[in-house]
């Protein structure tokens, strides 16, 4: 079935944690290791996500979405992330592009793109990182120069999740005076996509390097303000991406917990089950505790987003920091519980281990988060 003919998204009632968990158990979990080895998810999966209405369910019904709130969206991304971080990563970047369009798009831009993005007929990707600049927006060298009433775009973006498959790129580029966000259709002349294969983590997330060579764009490519506030487009988009990565990290912890509990119940060493060994129990206790804490932090950040409360920004930093570092820690312990089995090709704990590390790097590294979260101390607890 072609994705363009996929059924319309379900109504809001059909998109929730339970539905996402069932979807992940049926369509993701059994296949995730094979996708990881192959280095790509199949087109069929993208169509299944579209049929389930999971690409951008937060978009309002009038734009073709299901109008779910951010708390629900985070739960969906957690459940998908429990199954496969590569798939969750594809949801993350599509969510970022779709949200930026919804928040900053003109009526004409919404009319052109929103319904197709809600239905998954158009998939979005987020283009910020460059070969010489990670998420350091001040260091980007891609340029957008005025050409008539439009733009001429030149530069190279890399490590673009979903880039191999995306139809619409949200590209951040430098102008003479500021940064702009541009909507760039993949089909534009001058766009070249080069797959980046054999990555260490999120191997199946269709990562690519995208070159833009004298790409001519109309005035309708500009998303949001082009002046000082253009940084808000980037910050807001990254903020939502951060929530998604945090939710996906909770999913990784949950997956580690489930795998660790199952294996330690069946595996015996010296006549004892692993589950009865105190040091194994300690690992599982920490997983149980941290997955609850991380889930609550993510839910709180999402609730604040739903309320339009600016405190969501710091709450999201905190949630992502806690959840991603906990995921990396518990993926290490899950691997330890499984021993050599965990290192075997096709066993999920090795994938959890590699994917959890990605979450500590993207959408604000752990180091950047620790620098930023410290501001909270000085804002609230100094005389």
């Amino acid at each position: 079935m072609d994705i363009a003919t996929a059924a319309a998204p379900r109504a809001a009632a059909g998109v929730d944690r339970a539905a996402a968990r069932a979807f992940a158990d049926e369509h993701i979990v059994p296949f995730a290791d094979a996708w990881d080895r192959a280095g790509a998810v199949p087109e069929e999966l993208l169509e299944q996500i579209a049929r389930a209405g999971l690409w951008a369910p937060f978009l309002p019904v009038e734009l073709g979405g299901s109008g779910v709130d951010m708390v629900t969206l985070a739960a969906v991304h957690e459940e998908v992330g429990r199954g496969c971080s590569s798939v969750r990563s594809l949801l993350t970047v599509h969510t970022m592009a779709s949200w930026a369009l919804q928040r900053w798009g003109s009526p004409a831009q919404l009319d052109r793109w929103a319904r197709d993005m809600a239905a998954g007929r158009v998939l979005g990707a987020f283009c910020l990182s460059e070969p010489g600049a990670g998420s350091d927006a001040a260091g980007i060298t891609t340029t957008a120069v005025r050409e008539g009433d439009g733009w001429r775009l030149n530069g190279v973006k890399t490590w673009t999740t979903g880039g191999q498959r995306a139809d619409l790129f949200l590209v951040f580029a430098r102008t003479e005076s500021s940064t702009v966000a541009l909507l760039v259709p993949r089909a534009s002349a001058g766009v070249t996509v080069r797959p980046l294969d054999d990555m260490l983590g999120t191997r199946a997330s269709l990562i690519a390097q995208i070159a833009f060579e004298d790409v001519l764009l109309g005035p309708d490519a500009l998303l949001g303000p082009s002046s000082f506030a253009s940084g808000m487009v980037l910050s807001g988009t990254l903020d939502l991406g951060r929530l998604s990565v945090a939710a996906g990290s909770v999913g990784i912890i949950q997956a580690c917990l489930e795998a660790g509990a199952d294996y330690s119940t069946e595996r015996t060493v010296g006549g004892s089950r692993l589950k009865d060994l105190p040091l194994i129990r300690a690992k599982l206790s920490d997983m149980v505790t941290d997955v609850r804490a991380a889930r609550l932090l993510v839910a709180e950040a999402a609730r604040l987003k739903d309320a339009g409360d600016p405190a969501t920004i710091m709450a999201t930093w905190v949630a992502k920091y806690f959840a991603s570092t906990a995921a990396a820690r518990h993926a290490t312990e899950a691997l330890q519980i499984h021993g050599a089995l965990g290192f075997s090709s096709g066993h999920p704990t090795g994938r959890f281990y590699r994917d959890a590390k990605v979450a500590e790097v993207i959408e604000g590294s752990t180091e950047i988060q620790r620098l930023t979260i410290a501001d909270e101390a000085f804002r609230r607890w100094t005389a």
Partner: protein, 85 residues
């Protein structure tokens, strides 16, 4: 709600983010080095939530956020536009 109370709420929010400072309503907060894109986003979210308005893209100009007075004027302008619209 009067303009004074709008200004007072804005002033309180800015000072709450930078509790070591006292901000006058006509003080250029950009010149104090307080603004980055994250804070700008927080500021817009605060304005939209507190005063039940949506700041349109064309109003997202630096001069509209330079002082508490400018932000107060922005709130009133957006409110009146919404009422007319």
């Amino acid at each position: 709600m009067t303009e004074i109370s709008v200004a007072a709420q804005l002033q309180s929010f800015v000072e709450g983010r930078f509790p070591q400072s006292s901000i006058a309503t006509d003080q250029d907060i950009f010149s104090l080095g307080y603004i980055n894109s994250l804070f700008a986003m927080e500021l817009v979210m605060f304005i939209e939530r507190t005063f039940s308005v949506t700041v349109p893209n064309e109003e997202l100009r630096i001069d509209n956020f330079r002082t508490v007075e400018a932000m107060s004027a922005l709130v009133e302008r957006v409110r009146s536009t919404a009422l007319v619209g």
